[in-house]
C-alpha cells in the first residue's frame, strides 16, 4: 500500500474539490433518503387511513392549527440565507488561505504531461474515451446528456412526488437518475481522478503510479470474435448487433413498463415512451460497453469505414 501516492493524489490542489464532493454527496443522499423515508411512511399511513388523509396536514414536520401557513421571507428566510452566505464565505476564505491554487510550469507544447488530464469535472468524459471513440465520448455523449436532462420534465408523466422527497412513488425515475448521476458521472470522475495514472492506465488506490508500467492488452473487435473479416460484413454485423440491442432492449423496457409502471405507461404518449426507451437503453449501453471492454477486451462492436462504435 503506497500511502504517499494516495496522499499525493488526494492532496493535489485541483483534486481537493473531488475529495470534498464525495462526503458531501454521501451526506446529501443520506439527508434525502431520510426525508423520503419519512414521507413514504406518512403516505403509507394516510393510504391506510383515508379519514386521517382528509384532515392531516400531510407533512412530516409538526404542525399545529393556528400556526402561520405562510411566513414572511423577512426575516424567516433571509436570516437563513445570510447565515448560509456567511458560512460559505468562511469556508471559501479558509480554503483560499490554506490551499494555493495550482500553478505549474509555463505551458510547454513539447513536454507532454503524463497523465494529461482534463479539469476534474470533465474526467468522466475523458474516462469514456477509453471505451468509445472521441466523437461519441466527446461530442455525442455530452450532447445526449444535455438533451436527456432537458427532456426529463417532458417524459416524466408521474404526477406524484412533486415538491417532496419520496422513494416509493418515484422508484423508477429516482433510481435512473441516481444511476446516471452517481454511477455514470461521479464514479467516472472518481475513476478518472484517482484510478487513472500515467498512460491512462488503471492503478488501484494505493498502487504506485509507475511511469514505466507496461500492460499487455490486446483489444479485439466483436466481429473478429465471430470470425468476420470482410468490411461490409463487419458493418452489417455491427448494425445488426446494435440494432438488435435496441430492439430487444426496447422490448424489455416495454414489458418492464407495462408490468411495473402501468399507470405511468398509460399516461405516456408514444413519442414520450420511445424517447424514454432510447435514452434509457443508451444509458445502459454505457456500462455494457465498459464491461465488454474491461472484461472481454472488446474494442468495437460496429465497424464501418466512417465510424466505429
Amino acid at each position: 500500500m503506497d500511502w504517499r501516492q494516495l496522499w499525493e493524489i488526494c492532496s493535489a490542489p485541483d483534486n481537493v474539490p473531488i475529495v470534498g464532493l464525495i462526503p458531501l454527496l454521501a451526506f446529501f443522499i443520506y439527508l434525502a433518503w431520510k426525508q423520503a423515508h419519512a414521507n413514504d411512511q406518512l403516505i403509507a399511513q394516510l393510504e391506510a387511513d383515508p379519514a386521517m388523509a382528509k384532515t392531516h396536514h400531510r407533512k412530516t414536520w409538526p404542525f399545529k392549527p393556528g400556526w402561520q401557513k405562510e411566513v414572511h421571507v423577512w426575516p424567516f428566510l433571509l436570516r437563513i440565507e445570510f447565515l448560509a452566505a456567511i458560512i460559505v464565505t468562511i469556508i471559501l476564505m479558509v480554503w483560499s488561505i490554506s490551499l494555493n491554487a495550482p500553478l505549474e510550469e509555463p505551458a510547454n507544447p513539447n513536454l507532454t504531461m503524463n497523465p494529461a488530464k482534463a479539469p476534474w469535472y470533465f474526467l468522466g468524459l475523458q474516462e469514456m474515451l477509453v471505451y468509445f471513440d472521441p466523437w461519441i465520448a466527446g461530442v455525442v455523449m455530452p450532447t445526449m446528456i444535455i438533451v436527456g436532462l432537458m427532456v426529463i420534465p417532458y417524459v416524466d408523466t408521474n404526477p406524484l412526488g412533486s415538491g417532496y422527497y419520496t422513494w416509493k412513488q418515484r422508484k423508477f425515475s429516482i433510481s435512473t437518475f441516481l444511476f446516471g448521476f452517481v454511477i455514470l458521472w461521479v464514479a467516472m470522475i472518481i475513476i478518472g481522478t484517482f484510478i487513472r495514472g500515467p498512460g491512462w492506465q488503471w492503478f488501484w488506490p494505493g498502487q504506485t503510479w509507475d511511469h514505466n508500467r507496461l500492460i499487455y492488452e490486446v483489444n479485439r473487435d466483436l466481429p473478429d470474435i465471430f470470425g468476420i473479416t470482410s468490411n461490409a460484413a463487419k458493418a452489417i454485423f455491427g448494425a445488426i448487433v446494435v440494432g438488435g440491442y435496441y430492439l430487444i432492449g426496447g422490448g424489455l423496457v416495454y414489458s418492464l413498463f407495462r408490468r411495473r409502471m402501468g399507470k405511468d405507461f398509460q399516461r405516456m404518449s408514444l413519442l414520450q415512451f420511445s424517447m424514454v426507451q432510447f435514452l434509457l437503453l443508451t444509458m445502459v449501453a454505457l456500462p455494457l460497453k465498459m464491461g465488454l471492454r474491461l472484461l472481454w477486451h472488446i474494442k468495437y462492436v460496429w465497424i464501418t469505414p466512417w465510424f466505429n462504435v
Binding site: 485541483d14 474539490p17 470534498g20 458531501l24 446529501f28 439527508l31 434525502a32 403516505i43 394516510l46 393510504e47 392531516h56 407533512k59 414536520w61 400556526w67 402561520q68 405562510e70 414572511h72 421571507v73 423577512w74 428566510l77 437563513i80 448560509a84 452566505a85 460559505v88 471559501l92 476564505m93 491554487a101 500553478l103 505549474e104 509555463p106 505551458a107 507544447p109 494529461a116 488530464k117 470533465f122 468524459l125 471513440d133 472521441p134 466523437w135 465520448a137 466527446g138 461530442v139 444535455i146 436532462l149 432537458m150 420534465p153 408521474n158 406524484l160 412526488g161 412533486s162 415538491g163 417532496y164 419520496t166 412513488q169 418515484r170 425515475s173 429516482i174 399507470k263 466512417w306 465510424f307
Partner: protein
Amino acid sequence: MADENNPNRTNGKNGNKVGLLEKVTAGVKGDIQSLKTDIPTKAKEQIEGLKDPTKTQVYTSIFRHKHDDTPRNRALGVLSNVFLHLHPAKINRDAVRYSYTWGMGGITFYLFIILTYTGVLLMFYYHPSKVQAFRDVLYLEHDVPFGKILRNMHRWAAHLMVIAVWLHMFRVFLTGSYKKPREFNWNIGVLLLVFTLLLSFTGYLLPDDQLGFWAVTVGTNMARATPLLGHEGPFGSMLGMTPYNDVRFGLLGGSIVDANALLRSYIWHCIGIPIVASVLMIVHFWRVRKDGGISGPAPVMLEAEADKPRRGPKAAGE
C-alpha cells in the same frame, strides 16, 4: 427664511416716506433679532428630529416604508428591495427549511457574485498574451497585495460553484421540482449547468501553465472528432474538414492551443459566457417566481389523487 420676519413690510404700512437708510437699518435689526431667536429653536427642533433617523428624508427616500415590526413592513422590506424582491413577501412556512432546499441554488448564486467580484479584480492584473499571462500570475502570487488569496478564492469558488450546481440539480430532481409547471425552468437550469462548466473550463487555460494547457488540449482534442464538423470525426474528412478549418480550429483560433486560444478563452471567460449566463440566471429566477415559487415542501400526494387535478396547498387540511 427671512420671509415671515421681513421687517420691510411693517415699515411700509405706516405710509411715511421713510428713507432708504432707515429701511435698511430696520431690516438688519430684524435679521439680527431673528438670528437670535429663530435659529436656536430651529436647530433644537432639527437635532430632536435626528434622534429618530427613520423619519429623515434621506432614510425614507431609501426605505420607503417604516421599520416597525409589523407584517406589512416585513412584506414591504422584501417587496421594495430590488435585491430581495425576487423573493415573494411570504412563503410556504416549510420552505425555509434547508433540509429540504439544501440552500444550493442560493449558494450557487452567491458564489457567482463572488466570482464576478474577484474576477473583475483579477482582470486588473492579467494580460491575455503568451508573453504576459504566466508572468502576470506569478506577479499576482508574489507582488500584488492580497493577490494570492484573490486568485485562490476565484479558483476555489469556481470549483465550489460546480459542486453546488450539481447538488442543486440533484436536489431539484429528488423533490420532483421539475414537474409541471416548472418544466421550462428545469431546462434553463440545465443550460446554466452547461455554462457553469464552460466558464470553469475557459478559465482553466488562463494561467498558461502546463496544467491548463494540457487540460485544454485534451478537452479540445475531442472537438476534432465532432461528427461532420471535426477533421477526425465521422464523415468529417468527407466534408473537407482539415485541422485548419474544423470546429476545433474555430474554438481555438488555431490548430494548436496558442496565443489565439488564450485570447479566445479569455474573452469567452470574462465577457461572453458571463453575459449569457447572467441573462439565463435572470430568467431562471423570474421563472421560479412565476411558476409559483419553489416547489415545496409540498404536502404529500397519495396514489389515488394522482390523476385528479392538483390541490392547492390550502387543501392540505386542518
